[in-house]
């Protein structure tokens, strides 16, 4: 892995052509990944989806692009406008664009098979909708794995009323991940060897160190659970820097994205995680970040040193850099195999020190849903759960979970006991959390000790308080418990043990207020995205619930949010990790 990265560094001089309308055959003698991403303003846009040769690693590779750049152009809209976007597909395959986080008519949401039929090769689809919100959002392909190969970009919507956030300058920071491998190939490799990209597995040296530190007996006891479960405590990210180059606004870590500022300016950074698979931990050494918006929604400012941004989430932060220094915007991947990098500087020629990657975390009992005193539901023998025979799998449908009483009041989450239904048992599910902990105040795996170790304050969902009052003060009428499930070894993902292809619609009644209680029965961190409606996190503050479009569900944990089913039609609801999405997906139907 390291040797490849060094090679990349050596070849970085030619690493680019991105961010500009330079065609593949132009010479790229100059490093251009630092070029600013184009911004398109107004209410009427022509968007072209096409192929483009790109070079992030020293090798030219085809990308699928929007208007010829990776990332695509920043679309800058005004709240209250009606926008028209004529999207033409020049690819050989169907394509689509989904406007992530936008509240709009279901037919404009851009999900093939749910919102519309997709955009056929050579065809133009016209999206048109009223912009009824403001803030930082993004857009991306919702077809195949096109997002991995470059189809994503930022949306910034300027508010109709005066912005409660004051700033002198703003930058969009699109984080993403690029691979020279075809995404279909990455997916096939994960199916064949799920730890293909993990070069941090436990070795004999770890065993030796454990025995030296703890003795044979204790080591054996500590390892027994992992050995019996046949799981790895090093499984933080399915796809690592072995194949990924992490990008910030299309710039490689070697080049680094550059943002300039002047003395005394308040700079607003609009972070968007447009990666296919990479969850990032972001910090700017030497600067406090004041988080002012989450998923495009204004929040009460929170001053922090570091935040985790799940795939598809957005965070806006205000920084006040001092003019005598340059700063590194450092976004390290959750598995600590690499980082995306940018520089905030008063001078284009200044450089800033790049920090070391933090050490990678090890998964623990908590991440397996063994937070309390209970054990985890796993088989320690060879065969498990013969009573849940796979013959029942065909045509298997979700059984409603028993609901004995009215849901708990809004804002405080669910106190209902977690149950595992029959469809969660079988060869397609390798783990069930028995005592999932509340994921709300958990900074997440690898960040939990940062306050203690480094004195960095890390943002948690519990810190987020919406700036405006909760729009729908009703208590939930009912509660839906949905489990995120999978078999890591087989690389199969599902909800409630049922993959999308076999799943029924998740039906909501128009106008109802419903609680969704997500339980993560896996050891992965899943960012779950509900299209079309807000996911209002139950943070214990019912009057100011944060409104999110994408919610991180921590490993072996649970989290709950309220949804007002105020948008008719079919909506996608899924894990935003691209290679989990094919299975861990539901269609929500509001009628």
């Amino acid at each position: 892995m390291m040797s490849r990265r060094r090679f990349v560094t050596g070849a970085a001089a030619g690493s680019a052509l991105l961010g500009l309308g330079i065609s593949a055959d132009s010479s790229f003698a100059v490093t251009l990944t630092r070029q600013p991403v184009t911004t398109l303003r107004g209410s009427s846009f022509d968007i072209d989806i096409g192929y483009k040769m790109v070079n992030f690693t020293g090798r030219e590779r085809p990308a699928t692009t929007i208007n010829g750049s990776v990332p695509g152009p920043i679309l800058r809209w005004r709240e209250g406008d009606r926008v028209t976007l004529r999207v033409t597909n020049h690819l050989a395959h169907d394509s689509s664009i989904h406007w992530h986080g936008m509240i709009l008519d279901a037919r404009m949401d851009g999900v093939p098979g749910i919102s519309f039929d997709g955009i056929k090769p050579g065809e133009t689809f016209t999206y048109q909708f009223d912009v009824r919100q403001n803030g930082t959002f993004w857009y991306h392909s919702h077809s195949g794995f096109q997002e991995q190969t470059g189809m994503y970009g930022a949306i910034v919507i300027d508010p109709a009323k005066p912005d409660p956030v004051s700033y002198d300058r703003d930058y969009v920071i699109v984080l993403s991940d690029w691979s020279d491998e075809k995404p279909e190939r990455i997916y096939a490799k994960l199916k064949k060897q799920s730890d293909y990209y993990n070069f941090r597995e436990r070795t004999a040296a770890d065993l030796w160190r454990d025995i030296s530190d703890k003795g044979v007996g204790q080591t054996r006891r500590d390892r027994a659970m992992w050995n019996q479960m046949r799981m790895s405590d090093r499984d933080l990210s399915d796809v690592s820097a072995y194949t990924y180059t992490f990008l910030m606004n299309g710039a490689t870590p070697e080049d680094g994205w550059l943002g300039l500022f002047e003395q005394g300016e308040k700079v607003r950074l609009r972070f968007i995680n447009a990666a296919a698979m990479t969850i990032y931990d972001v910090r700017i050494p030497g600067l406090k970040m004041k988080v002012v918006a989450a998923d495009g929604q204004n929040i009460e400012p929170v001053s922090i040193d570091e935040f985790r941004i799940g795939v598809a989430e957005t965070y806006d932060v205000i920084v006040e850099p001092s003019a005598d220094s340059a700063y590194t915007i450092f976004a390290q991947s959750i598995d600590r195999t690499g980082y995306a990098r940018g520089i905030l500087s008063p001078d284009a020629d200044w450089s800033a020190e790049v920090p070391q990657l933090d050490p990678p975390a090890l998964l623990g009992h908590r991440d397996m849903g063994m937070g309390g005193m209970g054990g985890m539901d796993h088989d320690v023998g060879g065969m498990d759960h013969s009573q849940h025979d796979m013959s029942k799998m065909s045509g298997m449908r979700e059984m409603p979970r028993k609901s004995g009483r009215a849901p708990d009041p809004a804002g405080y989450g669910s106190n209902r006991e977690i149950t595992h239904i029959a469809s969660e048992f079988g060869p397609h599910v390798d783990m069930r959390a028995s005592t999932p902990q509340d994921g709300l105040s958990d900074p997440g795996i690898g960040l939990r000790d940062h306050q203690r170790l480094y004195g960095r304050r890390v943002l948690t969902y519990a810190d987020i308080r919406n700036l405006g009052r909760t729009l729908d003060p009703r208590d939930p009428e009912r509660e839906i418990e949905l489990h995120l499930t999978g078999n890591m070894n087989r690389y199969m993902w599902s909800m409630n043990g049922i993959k999308f292809a076999d799943a029924d619609l998740l039906r909501l009644s128009y106008g109802e207020r419903v609680r969704i209680n997500l339980v993560n029965d896996t050891m992965m961190t899943h960012p779950i995205h509900l299209h079309g409606m807000w996911s209002e996190l139950e943070t214990g503050d019912p009057d100011y619930m944060p409104r999110k479009h994408t919610v991180i569900v921590q490993p072996g944990s649970k989290i709950s949010y309220l949804v007002t089913a105020d948008a008719m039609g079919g909506w996608a609801y899924h894990c935003h990790l691209l290679y989990h999405m094919p299975g861990m997906f539901r269609e929500v139907r509001v009628s």
């Binding site: 999900v111 997709g118 794995f145 070069f199 060879g382 796979m390 087989r490 299975g583």
Partner: protein
């Protein structure tokens, strides 16, 4: 009889897997979650140092199918002195029955040594607790012949790419097969230790030792033919998959 019914099973299995291909695509909103994949693993392709001569030995398997249902093939054999002395091919329908286990049913044919033998095969393959890759199979042949094979392998990572693999294989037979010099009961044990370096995940040269020992009647047959009943060999080889 057994062979014929095994052939029917394989035929049925082929139909099932093929039908997976034509499942209606109702999941257009997401990419196909369970694509039809093909994997081939050449676990061992090695030269074994044998009394001044080198034998070429192979052990491989592969599958074609989806997450929970696959067609599986396995092969192993050896060439010595320019001719194939052992060659075996299995063709199995494989179905996931537990989170780490597959149930496999099909046929096995031993082309060499002569005379050839055919078997119906049933077994389980998967990952046992403590990460032992395990394959246990029962074979039922003509004339009431039966055989049982146990295989297990462990991968000890010395580094992320340097991997030490002890493995063991044991064969039992239900009755004597004098034509092939196989005796009933515990027949042979093979223990190996191989150290490979994964240049890529898919491509790893290795060196190692392989030790075989014959037992019971099989050992007696060997002694009668003037052959050794145990042998230790140095091996050099390649592990590769796609």
């Amino acid at each position: 009889m057994a062979i014929r019914s095994a052939a029917k099973i394989v035929f049925a299995a082929t139909l099932i897997v093929t039908s997976c291909l034509s499942v209606a695509e109702n999941a257009r909103a997401a990419t196909e979650d369970d694509p039809l994949l093909l994997m081939g693993i050449l676990d061992q392709l090695e030269l074994r140092d044998a009394a001044g001569d080198s034998n070429l030995s192979w052990d491989g398997q592969g599958w074609f199918g989806k997450d929970l249902r696959k067609l599986w093939f396995k092969t192993e054999g050896e060439r010595a002195g320019g001719s194939t002395t052992e060659a075996e091919l299995q063709f199995l329908y494989s179905k996931a029955i537990a989170k780490y286990w597959e149930l496999q049913i099909g046929v096995r044919h031993d082309f060499k040594p002569s005379p050839s033998r055919s078997w119906a095969a049933i077994g389980i393959q998967g990952l046992a607790p403590y990460f032992f890759e395990t394959d246990i199979a029962l074979f039922i042949g003509e004339s009431g012949r039966t055989a049982l094979r146990l295989e297990s392998e462990y991968e000890l990572l010395l580094t992320q790419r340097l991997i030490l693999t002890p493995d063991i294989e044991v064969n039992f037979y239900g009755q004597d097969d004098t034509d092939l010099g196989l005796g009933s009961g515990l027949s042979d044990l093979e223990v190996g230790l191989r150290l490979r370096y994964e240049i890529r995940r898919e491509f790893a040269p290795y060196i190692g030792v392989n030790w075989t020992k014959l037992f019971g009647n099989t050992a007696d047959f060997a002694r009668f033919a003037g052959e050794d009943t145990s042998e230790a060999q140095l091996v050099i080889g390649l592990r590769a998959w796609f």
